[in-house]
Every structure is written in structure tokens, then in C-alpha cells.
């Protein structure tokens, strides 16, 4: 019976192992649903189609790295190569500095990947605003004048009895704030006096009084590296009880207020054309768990 001599080609083995670990990480992201905390739905689908080929490739590398050859005494390696050096890995010189560095970097990245604590982006990624003096703040902004306001000289439709939800969130995927922002910019008067129900996380801007907060969600094109916060100002007596990054559902009526300061706050600077800004005068605020798909995406 011929004995088999096993030798493992280190480079191929390490490459196969690292690629397999990477594919396991992608699989873990997908199975747990945490992939939606990092990338958009489109990219998530691309990842799904990449997992299997990468796994197959890594398994092939692991298989090929184990060199099964009959054990021969005093084997001269050159004689056994039979002229075809394409797959004869022993002729390839030892890994370069950059090759070893790549392995280390990938190892560290995998460590970072598997130790990642899944968490949606919060207020830490909202751009900080410049300091403004209290006098300047009070001079130009009407926080508690109680007015519902009008936009320019036009009057809103009489909708004080209208409790129909203009934009209601039906599923975790719906583009609530983004849809509202688009619809409101197109026809602001249509929404003044109507009731909305929106979900997002709480953001207390240092430029707003304690009874105001901004109901925010991030809009993501591809991944959270391009995430952009979109928010709507909410006025509520319960505002001070809500901590930053708490996910809530807010119901209330849309009114407008003289609040040009909102142009300086990132989530609310999407409607810069008028000093009168939409504000939700909330009738109820309910804490909700963080959605599995917390980001808004292009439809």
C-alpha cells in the first residue's frame, strides 16, 4: 500500500481560510438581518449572490492547498513537477511583505467584522452646527407663539377637522420622512392642517428649545457611508423625557412656524425656500423598537 505524504501549501491554505471566513461573515449578516444596518437592499442582493461563489472558491483553495503525493525517498522536487509549473506552488517564492501585510489586514478586518455590535446609525452622525447667540436665536425664530401660520400670503385649506393621515408608515421599508419631504416641497399648503403619523429616532438639537425635537431617519443610497439624515421638527411637552436615538412613532397635526434656524440643522435643511417651516404639533408619541430596516432608500 502506497503511503500518502500530505503537505500543505501555506499561502493557498491561508487565502482559502480567510475567504471562507469572509463568506461566513456575509452569511451571518444575511441570516441575522443585520445586513440592512449596513447597506441598501440592492447591495444586499448582490452580497447574497456573492456568498456562494466565494465559499466555493475558498473551499477549492483549501482543497488544493493540501498536496497529496505518494511518499518517495530523497524526492527531488524539480523532477516531480513534470514540466508543468503552473500549479506547482513550491516554485513560487515566499510571500512578499505586502502579501503578509494583506493577510494581517484581512485578519484584523475579520476580527472587526465578527466583533461588530449591530446598531443603526444615530445622532452621532448628524453634522454639528455652529454656535449661535441666544439673542440671534430669539430675534428670528418664533418657537412658542402658538400660530399655525400661513405660507406667504396664501391661506391653507380649512382642514382643522381633517384627521386623515397624509403619510402613514405601513411597513419598515416605507420612506416616511423622505416621502413627506418630497411631497411637502412640491405642495406645502396641501399638508398644513393635516394629521400625520411618522416614525424615526429622536434628535435634540442644541439650537432648539427643550420642547422641540427632530424626528429623524437616514436616507441611504448604497451603504451607510452615504447616509443623509432627513427630519421633521416635532413640538411636544414630552420632548424632554425622550433621549437622543430613541425610536418613536409621532402622531400630530402639521403646522408652520417661523423657524429659519432649521436651515442650519442638517436633518431639517431640506426645505430652505421659506422661513416658515413645517412642524408637527404632536398629539401622541409612542416608543417603538428599532426597525429591522431603519433606513430610507430610493424606491
Amino acid at each position: 500500500m502506497q503511503l500518502l505524504q500530505l503537505s500543505i501549501h501555506r499561502k493557498q491554505f491561508v487565502q482559502g481560510l480567510l475567504l471562507f471566513s469572509l463568506s461566513l461573515f456575509f452569511l451571518k449578516l444575511y441570516v441575522t438581518g443585520n445586513i440592512h444596518l449596513l447597506v441598501s437592499d440592492t447591495i444586499a442582493v448582490l452580497i447574497l449572490f456573492t456568498i456562494l461563489p466565494v465559499m466555493v472558491l475558498s473551499c477549492a483553495m483549501l482543497f488544493w492547498s493540501v498536496n497529496r503525493k505518494p511518499a518517495l525517498p530523497q524526492r527531488d522536487h524539480g523532477e516531480n513537477c513534470e514540466g508543468d509549473h503552473t500549479h506547482c506552488q513550491d516554485h513560487i517564492p515566499a510571500s512578499s511583505f505586502w502579501g503578509k501585510s494583506t493577510v494581517c489586514l484581512l485578519l484584523l478586518s475579520l476580527l472587526a467584522a465578527f466583533s461588530w455590535h449591530p446598531k443603526a446609525l444615530g445622532s452621532e452622525m448628524i453634522a454639528k452646527t455652529p454656535n449661535i447667540s441666544p439673542a440671534e436665536l430669539d430675534a428670528n425664530n418664533s418657537f412658542d407663539d402658538g400660530s399655525t401660520g400661513t405660507l406667504g400670503e396664501l391661506k391653507p385649506p380649512v382642514t382643522t377637522q381633517n384627521t386623515e393621515s397624509v403619510v402613514t408608515k405601513q411597513s419598515a421599508n416605507e420612506e416616511s420622512q423622505a416621502s413627506f419631504a418630497i411631497h411637502y416641497q412640491a405642495n406645502p399648503l396641501k399638508y398644513v392642517g393635516t394629521t400625520v403619523a411618522l416614525e424615526g429616532f429622536v434628535y435634540h438639537s442644541p439650537l432648539l428649545p427643550p420642547n422641540y425635537f427632530i424626528l429623524t431617519r437616514y436616507f441611504v443610497f448604497c451603504c451607510i457611508a452615504d447616509a443623509y439624515p432627513i427630519g421633521i421638527t416635532v413640538r411636544s411637552s414630552d420632548s424632554m423625557d425622550l433621549k437622543n436615538d430613541t425610536w418613536v412613532q409621532v402622531k400630530g397635526m402639521i403646522e408652520t412656524k417661523q423657524l429659519p434656524i432649521l436651515d442650519q440643522i442638517e436633518p431639517t435643511n431640506w426645505f430652505p425656500t421659506s422661513p416658515k417651516k413645517p412642524v408637527i404639533n404632536s398629539s401622541s408619541i409612542k416608543a417603538i423598537p428599532t426597525p429591522t430596516k431603519p433606513y430610507m432608500m430610493p424606491s
Partner: protein
């Protein structure tokens, strides 16, 4: 005494807290960039390996016309049919020169092929939010610069044997392996798979470094936006070009990193990042002089830098 000691530790705790406030979101963004760009890197490496294994350089030589202007145009567009990343263009370029292809066309191919190919174009399109404008701008700018630089440095066709360094490298080059015409399908498949893994590992180190730098910078900029002004003008373009050279990303991954800078830098600076990164990154700074000779190589790199800067300033 105890109270004073604790108060002395306050700045340290504040500093640690500030570092954590940057590291925690940067961790997520770093992973997001890696996860997002990996499919494109993998598919690009796979396609490049298929090209490397299945298509011989003689085919390229037959497609390219002799006229200088026509040859640079065709050379720039070859990548659209046969996608190779910038890791793969230099070995192919060396073999094309040996086959007698005009230098102008080879230069144009080397500069344009990493960008003017379906994988890179798709990655740019996705990275900028299904926005076709940045993709078209990148392709157009790359095409024009590649053609112009190719025409300027083209000159007379320089036989490869006159370049001593180049010749000795050719003899030891891995691309010589491609001319084993009678490989079985299984061996060919294995070769493609092994080459794919090599290409992925050739790219991923650069991708990891640049994703780390990009994510840290983005978080720092967001949290200190009132201290940092949005960059525009000469400084912005030069900064982004330098970052692109240092990051040395492949064309399917750099679009995602560039997108993360789009809120802090002007569109021209971002475009300059996307264009120069494939023409004159750290790898090409070393490889282009080795492929075309020292003087020609330096001319190519200098012209690429100049035209990319002008492009960034115009936009």
C-alpha cells in the same frame, strides 16, 4: 488629594470618550464600505482572470489600427469589451508592446481600461446613487485624458528589445504562462480560480486601508463640521488627488470611497479622485516606468496628474 487626582483624570476620560465616539460609528461605516465594494471587487477579479486566461495578446494586436489617433481611441475602448483592473493592465501592456502594438495605443489602454469597462461603470453608477452623470463624467474624462496622453507620448513605436529592464522582466513574467495553448478545461478553470484569488488579495489590502481612513475621516468631519469648512478649489482637488494616489484602490471599489467624500469636497475634486486613482496610483507610479521606460513613464504620470487637476478645477 484624591479629588484632585480624579480631576486630573478628567481630560483623559474626555479624550477617550471622544475617541470612542469616533471609533464606534466609524467601525460600522468601515464594514459597510467593505461589504458594499466586495461584490464588485470579486466580479472584477473573476472577469479579469477569465480575460487573462482565455484571451491572448495576439488578438489585441490585430484589433488595433496603425494610425495614431485611431489607435489611441481603440486602445482606450478595449477595456469596455475586455475588463481588466489596473493590476492587470500593466502585464497586458508589456505583452502588447512586444507584439508590436503602437505605444500610443498601449498607453491609452493602460490608462483607460481600468475605468472604461462595465464593472467599473456599474460600480460608479451604484456608488453615486444610481446617478448616471458622475459615471459618464468619469468615463468621458478618462477617455479624453487617455487619448491625449497617448497621442503626446506615442511618438515612434519603440521595439521592446530596446528597453533592457523591460525585456528581462518579460522573461520572468507570469504572463508567459498564458501562452500554454493546450490546457485542459479543468486546468484552465483552476487557473482562473487561483488567479481570481490572487487578484482579490492584491486589491483587498488597499481597500481595507482606504476604507479605514475614509470612515474615520467621515466621522471626524461630521462631528467637527463647524470646525472644518467644506473643501473646494485648488486645495480640495489636490487633496483628493493625493488621497486617491495613496489609497490605490481598484476601479470597482474607489467609487464607494469617493462617494463618502462627496459631502465634504467639490464634485470636481471627487471626479479628480476617481480619474487619477486609476491612472497614477502607487502601483502604477512604480509599474508604468517599468513598462514604458523611465522617461516615457514619468511623462505619462506627469501628464495624467496635470490633466486630472485641470479636469477637477473645471468642474
Amino acid at each position: 488629594m484624591v479629588i484632585e487626582d480624579v480631576q486630573l483624570l478628567d481630560p483623559i476620560f474626555t479624550f477617550i470618550n471622544q475617541i470612542l465616539q469616533i471609533l464606534i460609528p466609524a467601525h460600522s461605516i468601515f464594514l459597510a464600505i467593505l461589504v458594499e465594494s466586495f461584490p464588485f471587487v470579486f466580479v472584477g477579479a473573476l472577469l479579469s482572470s477569465c480575460v487573462h486566461e482565455c484571451i491572448h495578446e495576439e488578438h489585441f494586436a490585430r484589433w488595433i489600427p496603425k494610425n495614431k489617433l485611431s489607435s489611441v481611441v481603440v486602445g482606450s475602448l478595449i477595456g469596455f469589451i475586455l475588463p481588466v483592473c489596473d493590476c492587470g493592465t500593466n502585464p497586458v501592456a508589456r505583452n502588447l508592446l512586444v507584439k508590436g502594438v503602437p505605444r500610443a495605443a498601449v498607453v491609452a489602454f493602460t490608462l483607460a481600461a481600468p475605468v472604461i469597462n462595465p464593472i467599473s461603470m456599474l460600480a460608479t453608477y451604484f456608488a453615486f446613487g444610481m446617478n448616471v452623470h458622475m459615471m459618464l463624467l468619469r468615463v468621458f474624462a478618462t477617455f479624453i485624458i487617455a487619448c491625449v496622453v497617448g497621442c503626446i507620448v506615442g511618438g515612434k513605436r519603440v521595439p521592446a528589445v530596446e528597453s533592457g529592464i523591460f525585456q528581462s522582466q518579460l522573461e520572468g513574467s507570469a504572463t508567459v504562462e498564458v501562452s500554454h495553448p493546450k490546457k485542459s478545461k479543468l486546468k484552465r478553470l483552476r487557473s482562473i480560480m487561483e488567479h481570481t484569488v490572487e487578484e482579490v488579495f492584491g486589491i483587498i489590502g488597499f481597500l481595507i486601508c482606504s476604507a479605514a481612513v475614509s470612515s474615520l475621516y467621515q466621522v471626524y468631519h461630521t462631528q467637527h463640521a463647524h470646525l472644518l469648512q467644506s473643501q473646494s478649489g485648488v486645495l480640495a482637488v489636490l487633496t483628493m488627488m493625493l488621497l486617491a494616489i495613496l489609497f490605490s484602490l481598484c476601479s470597482s471599489a474607489d467609487a464607494f470611497v469617493a462617494r463618502s467624500f462627496a459631502t465634504s469636497y467639490s464634485p470636481g475634486a471627487v471626479l479628480a479622485f476617481l480619474v487619477i486613482g486609476q491612472m497614477a496610483d502607487l502601483r502604477n507610479v512604480l509599474l508604468i516606468p517599468r513598462t514604458f521606460g523611465l522617461i516615457t513613464g514619468i511623462k505619462v504620470l506627469a501628464l495624467c496628474f496635470l490633466f486630472c487637476f485641470i479636469t477637477g478645477m473645471i468642474l
